[in-house]
Symmetry: C2
Subunit: 229 residues, 2 copies
């Protein structure tokens, strides 16, 4: 490590992490972790940024730069030790503990997400669904996630230690519901409702806007047609 680290908590292994990490970077860290999981499953012990880039169609310099942001994990002349780097990435991404997740909205989408196997995989625990429809409350998803009254969101957030909320509610209620989520003390929201949500600065929202995605594809198709001869 070069002498660029004047932070109060510098250490031999992991430098002071920078104040602002771009979301593009964190997204890539998650991708790198997935690649390393696959490599470790295949018994690969060590990998260079070059090899990683080629195998997964990434950019070697970018991999190095992203990783170097958080510490010196590589060994010159060798590359990265897969198991070691994987462990570091899991720690950086906060995956070295179970994170409890609630899904708000027990409609088609909410129920599907509750049973989505990809969610359970990397340390996320879906512990509750919430809805406001009487007939749904008390039921459970196919895989057994219980459906609670959204009026009990705050209480259950505390009791269950819920840290992330996934919003799968109809567009008109989304702002009202996210206000409830914020009031419950949840600081991270994955939003599937269309449109922007207003939240305080210390709450992070990631939105998956299916309409925007589809319309963007439509644009591409429309362009293609007029561009081709």
């Amino acid at each position: 490590m070069k002498a660029a680290n004047k932070g109060p908590r510098s250490a031999a292994r992991s430098r002071q992490t920078p104040d602002q990490v771009s979301e593009l970077t964190t997204n890539r860290l998650s991708v790198y972790l997935r690649c390393l999981n696959e490599l470790e499953d295949n018994g690969v012990r060590t990998i260079s940024s070059q090899a990683l880039a080629e195998q997964f169609r990434l950019n070697a310099a970018q991999i190095r730069k992203d990783l170097a942001y958080f510490g010196e994990f590589g060994v010159r002349g060798v590359g990265y030790y897969v198991r070691n780097l994987r462990r570091h990435l899991r720690q950086i991404l906060g995956l070295d503990r179970k994170l409890r997740v609630a899904i708000i909205g027990a409609g088609n989408l909410g129920l599907a997400l509750a049973d989505y196997p990809g969610f359970q995989q990397e340390g996320f625990d879906i512990v509750a669904l919430f809805d406001n429809q009487r007939d749904k409350i008390g039921q459970q998803s196919r895989s057994g996630v219980p459906i609670y009254d959204v009026a009990d969101l705050r209480k259950l957030t505390r009791r269950e230690g819920i840290k992330i909320a996934v919003l799968a509610v109809p567009a008109p209620s989304s702002q009202r519901v996210v206000d409830l989520v914020v009031a419950s003390g949840i600081k991270a929201v994955l939003n599937f409702s269309p449109g922007a949500l207003q939240v305080p600065d210390d709450v992070k929202v990631k939105s998956v806007d299916l309409t925007v995605s589809l319309e963007s594809l439509s644009f591409y198709l429309a362009r293609g047609e007029s561009a081709e001869t």
Copy 2:
């Protein structure tokens, strides 16, 4: 329009569109369209970029620049005519016709997406689900989208005029399935499976990676904890 337009198809109203439009721009066009829909529903006839930006928390200069890419839709001293701009955006995004969509994978997620009301809204028609499980084929989703054998994908793509495929299949089969989709002549794919897909240059893939989204939120939570005192 200033004399910057040497394209073969220039016209008074819509300039030659640029060769490469950033995906960030097309995503914003879709957002603008949604805002305009809301304004028109509320009976607003005309709006300035300034007012649009304030109302929907956007940037006025960016709105103007994004729109000016495609033509001169505004009137100086006035702003934009809501109905007119909406019409233009719909045309630019290729929404001035119905687009037929197939969903591949009739699992929880695929079935939920097939019945998702947001999809039907802006001119998208979900006409088919595909799966390879015998017991699912011949059934239909709650809202009546029929489930076909994925072996018939090519045939039905032609017969039904399917232009967009939504991939909701398990990760291990995603590359195999997208190969089928490409072979059927589909040029636009919305992918919900984790991991990158390889497709020819003339096929557009948009991916929604739920694991990456959640892990990125986890990173934010982990940072917050260590940053706070």
